[in-house]
Structures are given as structure tokens and as C-alpha cells.
């Protein structure tokens, strides 16, 4: 496997008038990985995708995609990328087939483009000869996905691909990501829906105001922001949970309706339960908590430099 990164950003800046969308962003996306670009609206995710394909020129900084500068050799970069934007960007007056054939021709696939196969992959083949204007939002996204994979891209750029989708269509998107990654393709997934990236991302990059706050694998982030073990504990009388502070091994305690307890070692949980029972606390819930991407996101977000 080629170990050179598929995308390299080095101190990339892009401003729109007074607004700085990317502010010295550096990142690297390895071949065959799923990289999640997380951030609130306006964090710079869409701008980053646009810079990757050369659709936008950075104001400053160094960009390499497949080892070439998309500003200088944009055509070769774009030919190897598949992009799904937040808006499907389809031609409503044309049929689904027309839309796919147009894309196939632009990407130089000729008349033997796998239009039917691409549509079948996302369950949209039955509607190929209908006008796109009559499609539901989910159908449009499925068609946009079909269009993005039609030319078998090496790099898939997904910008909020599940925005406004029904669960079934959202699942189709996530399956595509999984499938692409399994097939050795690289995926850059931009989202503010953290659940979307959960379990899929090999690398996570959290953006805020065009800057990277933190990056790493989910395991690294867990290690960095989730030291110790956390348990959710609830009781019939929540005020009685206050005694937990006195238990040996408690390194963190937060009472927010239920209690979130951080222990230095998860093996203390049985002792904690026995101890609380002996104190007359009538427990209703003891739930060891595995950190989610959302937990890490907010932990990193809280600690971001201002």
C-alpha cells in the first residue's frame, strides 16, 4: 500500500472578505482510511472539501492531493475524487438517468458507464427514468451518491451527506463509507452529526473557526480526554448519591440528575455498589459508560484555545 497521504494541508488559509474560513489548517488523510472532519456549522469543513478538489483556491498554504497541487493540476485530482455535497446539486428538469449520464460523460466514462449498477447500489434504479424534480430528499441524496461513485473514485469527499435524510437513506450513506473503506478507498467525511462518524472514522479531526482543535484516532482521543472509567449511577433518592464523593478511588463526580462518577479503576464498581447499599442508598441504575465521539468532541471543544 502506498503510504503517502492522499491529502496534505499545511497551514492552509482561506478568507472570504473579513471572514476567515480556514485559518492555518494542517491535516493529513492517509490512503485507505476514513477521516472525519468534525465541527459546528461555519467551522470550515465545506471550505476544506472545496480546497481539496481545487474548486476553491487557498489564500495561503500548501495543498497536495494524490501528491499534486489541485490548483495546478485540478483536472487530474477531480477525476479521482467523488464528491457529495450537503445539497445534492442535481438537475431537476432532467431524469435521474440523464443526471448520471451527464456525470459519466464529464468524467470520460463514455457510453458504457455503469449507470444502472451505480443506481442499483443505492436502491434508486426504479426511479432512473423519472424527473429528479419529483424525487424526495432521500432519493435525491441516493442519486447524488450514485453519481459520486459512478467513476469509482479513489477519494470520496462527503460534506454533511446525511443532512435531512430519513434513517434508511442515512444508513445507505454510512454503508457506502464502510464499503469504500473496506475496498481500500479513502474517505473524508465532514459532519456535525457526531453519531455519523462513530465507529466509522479511523481518524478524527475537530475543527473550530477554521482551525484544528485536536486530531487523532478515536482511541487516542479517548486516552487523552477520557482517563479513568465513568459510570452513570442513579437512585430512588438522588440526594443520597452525594456520599459517592467519599468513596475511595473516585476521581471525578458530577451530579446532573443522575450521577456521573469517574473511578480510577473500573474493578472498583462492585465494591462501590456494596458500599452504597450499606449506606442505605437504594440504587436504580449502575451503568459503566463507554465514551462516545460526542463526549470527546465536547471535551476537546471545552479545552480549545480561545
Amino acid at each position: 500500500m502506498n503510504e503517502a497521504p492522499v491529502i496534505t494541508f499545511d497551514r492552509v488559509t482561506r478568507a472570504f472578505g473579513d471572514v476567515t474560513a480556514l485559518d492555518g489548517l494542517s491535516l493529513s488523510v492517509k490512503v485507505g482510511t476514513v477521516t472525519a472532519l468534525l465541527g459546528a456549522n461555519g467551522a470550515g469543513k465545506t471550505t476544506a472539501v472545496r480546497v481539496v478538489t481545487g474548486a476553491l483556491r487557498p489564500s495561503n498554504g500548501f495543498v497536495r492531493v494524490f501528491g499534486v497541487d489541485p490548483r495546478a493540476d485540478g483536472e487530474s485530482v477531480r477525476r479521482r475524487c467523488g464528491v457529495v455535497s450537503a445539497r445534492p446539486g442535481l438537475y431537476d428538469r432532467l431524469t435521474g438517468r440523464d443526471n448520471l449520464e451527464y456525470a459519466a460523460q464529464l468524467y470520460g466514462l463514455g457510453s458504457h458507464a455503469p449507470v444502472e449498477d451505480a443506481a442499483a447500489r443505492f436502491g434508486i434504479v426504479h426511479a432512473l427514468d423519472q424527473r429528479v424534480g419529483g424525487y424526495s430528499t432521500g432519493m435525491k441524496t441516493r442519486l447524488a451518491l450514485s453519481r459520486a461513485v459512478l467513476h469509482d473514485p479513489e477519494l470520496l469527499l462527503l460534506d454533511e451527506p446525511t443532512a435531512g435524510l430519513d434513517p434508511e437513506s442515512a444508513r445507505a450513506v454510512l454503508s457506502l463509507i464502510d464499503e469504500m473503506a473496506t475496498g481500500g478507498k479513502s474517505v473524508l467525511l465532514c459532519t456535525h452529526l457526531l453519531l455519523e462518524a462513530e465507529g466509522l472514522a479511523d481518524e478524527v479531526i475537530i475543527l473550530s473557526e477554521g482551525r484544528e482543535i485536536v486530531s487523532g484516532s478515536p482511541e487516542e482521543l479517548t486516552h487523552r480526554y477520557w482517563q479513568g472509567s465513568r459510570i452513570v449511577i442513579d437512585a430512588e433518592d438522588r440526594s443520597s448519591l452525594d456520599v459517592i464523593r467519599d468513596f475511595e478511588g473516585v476521581v471525578g463526580f458530577e451530579l446532573n440528575g443522575h450521577a456521573i462518577v469517574q473511578l480510577d479503576d473500573l474493578s472498583r464498581v462492585p465494591d462501590l455498589v456494596v458500599w452504597l447499599t450499606s449506606k442505605g442508598v437504594r440504587l436504580t441504575r449502575v451503568d459503566p459508560r463507554v465514551p462516545t465521539l460526542e463526549d470527546m468532541y465536547f471535551a476537546a471543544y471545552r479545552e480549545r484555545p480561545t
Partner: protein, 275 residues
């Protein structure tokens, strides 16, 4: 592999073809200018009972330039036939410019901003097509509907005037040499000139409505100029048409070359192009 310019043009033309709300008014306009108004006027002149009125109109033909007057006198023998001939050859000529400019400007105004409003500009911006290919595709797709509507209208107009006026002037007489020059040498560069301005507007404005309004304002003076030049071509010396067309071609090529730089990829995304 097909040229991406043609692929983009074909896609835009296909969308136009499926936009009845666009092409029905355009066809109506062409029909009005090339068929209904000429047919009505020429029939009225040919069938009018009051010979005095026709003689009055015929006498006004004396104010035409000598070249035009000689051409009329060479073909006609009666006041009615002279008037009909003059109307067929000289009165409707400028319409051959108005129709294509109006149609092409309407299509061109929507060419770039329409992509942006639909969101398909994002797709196009991420596609392998170069900025020049996108621009040329948009140019062709904007130029062809107006020009071919005009050519078709011209053909129908030729048949109508020959059928109505021909019997009075000794047979089929239209198109005259000046009309060939007008249709194939003068009209195309004027459309191209208008589009070089309209496509720039379309790439810069925020909405399709603004593009339509701005392009209307921009092309109006051009329509008036074209109107004057085409009339002068028909009335003037034989070389006038070639000269007017030549100048128009130079201006059009200059305008198109400049406009091609206006369609930066970032315009398709609707963002400021200045970093």
C-alpha cells in the same frame, strides 16, 4: 471521448428543451415577429381596396437611399407591389436581430447563476471540466437557441413573403443578398457580443432574477445598435454589411476572450473570488 464543452452545452440544451415555461414564450415571440406580423401586414397591403392609401405609402419609399430605391424599382411595377416588396425586404430586417438577442440573453443570464441556485454549480466545480470548457459550453448553449430560432423564423419568413409578395414581383425574390449577409455574417457576432456581457453578469450576480434584470439593461443598447446596423446594412452599399459584420466579429471575439476569465470556478460555488 466527446468534448466536455459539447457535453455541458448539450446538458444545458436538454434542460431548456424540457422547460416549456421557457421555450413556449420564446417560440411565440419568434412566431409573432417572423410569421404573424409580416403575414398580416403583407396581406393587408396586397388585398387593400383603397389604392390611394397604398400610393401614399409607396410615395414615402422615395425617401429611401438610392441603392434601396433602385432595388425596389427593379422588381416591382405597381404601387402595391413596390410597397409589399419594400416591407418584406427592409421593414422586418431588424427583427432578425432582436429575436436572437432576446432569446440568447434570457438563456445566458441564467447560465451560471442558475447552476449556483440549483446547487449543481457545486457538482460542476468539483468535476474535471476546466473553467474554459464550462464557459464555452454555457456560451454555445446560450447562443444556439436564439440563433436557430432565428434561422428557422427566417426560413418561414422567406416562404411567407415569397408566397404573398412573389406573384406581384415576378416570382420568388427572397432572401436577397443583403439578407444572407445579415443572417450569417452580422447576426452571429452580435449575439456573441451580447453573450460575452450577459455571461459575465450571470457569473457575478447573486440571483437569477438579478441576472435577468441586469442582462436586460446591458443588452438593450446592444439591441438598438444592432437594429441600426442591420438596417444600415440593408439600405447601404453592398460592402456595408461585410464591414459592419467584420467590426462586430472583432468586438465579439475581444468580448468573449475577456469574459472567459470571468467564469472562475469559485463563481459556480457562489463565493467571493478574492481571497
Amino acid at each position: 471521448m466527446k468534448s466536455r464543452t459539447l457535453i455541458i452545452a448539450k446538458n444545458d440544451l436538454r434542460q431548456l428543451q424540457r422547460s416549456r415555461d421557457f421555450w413556449i414564450p420564446m417560440l411565440f415571440m419568434a412566431g409573432l415577429f417572423f410569421v404573424l406580423i409580416p403575414t398580416f401586414l403583407l396581406l393587408v397591403i396586397s388585398r387593400i381596396g383603397d389604392i390611394h392609401v397604398v400610393q401614399q405609402i409607396s410615395s414615402t419609399l422615395q425617401v429611401l437611399p438610392p441603392a434601396a430605391r433602385h432595388a425596389i424599382e427593379a422588381r416591382c411595377t405597381t404601387p402595391t407591389s413596390c410597397t409589399s416588396y419594400a416591407l418584406a425586404v427592409y421593414l422586418f430586417a431588424p427583427l432578425a436581430i432582436v429575436v436572437p438577442l432576446t432569446i440568447s440573453s434570457a438563456v445566458g443570464a441564467n447560465a451560471v447563476v442558475g447552476e449556483r441556485e440549483r446547487g449543481s454549480g457545486e457538482f460542476l466545480a468539483h468535476s474535471p471540466a476546466s473553467e474554459r470548457e464550462i464557459y464555452m459550453g454555457k456560451l454555445i448553449a446560450s447562443l444556439l437557441p436564439g440563433y436557430f430560432t432565428t434561422l428557422a423564423g427566417f426560413g418561414v419568413y422567406a416562404i411567407i413573403v415569397n408566397l404573398i409578395v412573389g406573384p406581384q414581383v415576378g416570382g420568388w425574390f427572397f432572401p436577397t443578398g443583403e439578407w444572407w449577409v445579415l443572417m450569417f455574417w452580422i447576426v452571429p457576432p452580435f449575439i456573441a457580443m451580447a453573450l460575452s456581457l450577459v455571461l459575465r453578469v450571470s457569473a457575478r450576480v447573486k440571483s437569477a432574477a438579478a441576472a435577468q434584470q441586469s442582462s436586460g439593461l446591458i443588452t438593450l443598447p446592444l439591441i438598438l445598435l444592432a437594429y441600426g446596423q442591420s438596417t444600415g446594412t440593408l439600405f447601404g452599399a453592398k460592402s456595408a454589411g461585410w464591414i459592419v459584420g467584420g467590426v462586430a466579429w472583432l468586438a465579439a471575439l475581444y468580448g468573449l476572450a475577456r469574459a472567459s476569465h470571468a467564469l472562475a470556478r469559485e463563481r459556480l460555488l457562489g463565493v467571493d473570488t478574492e481571497p
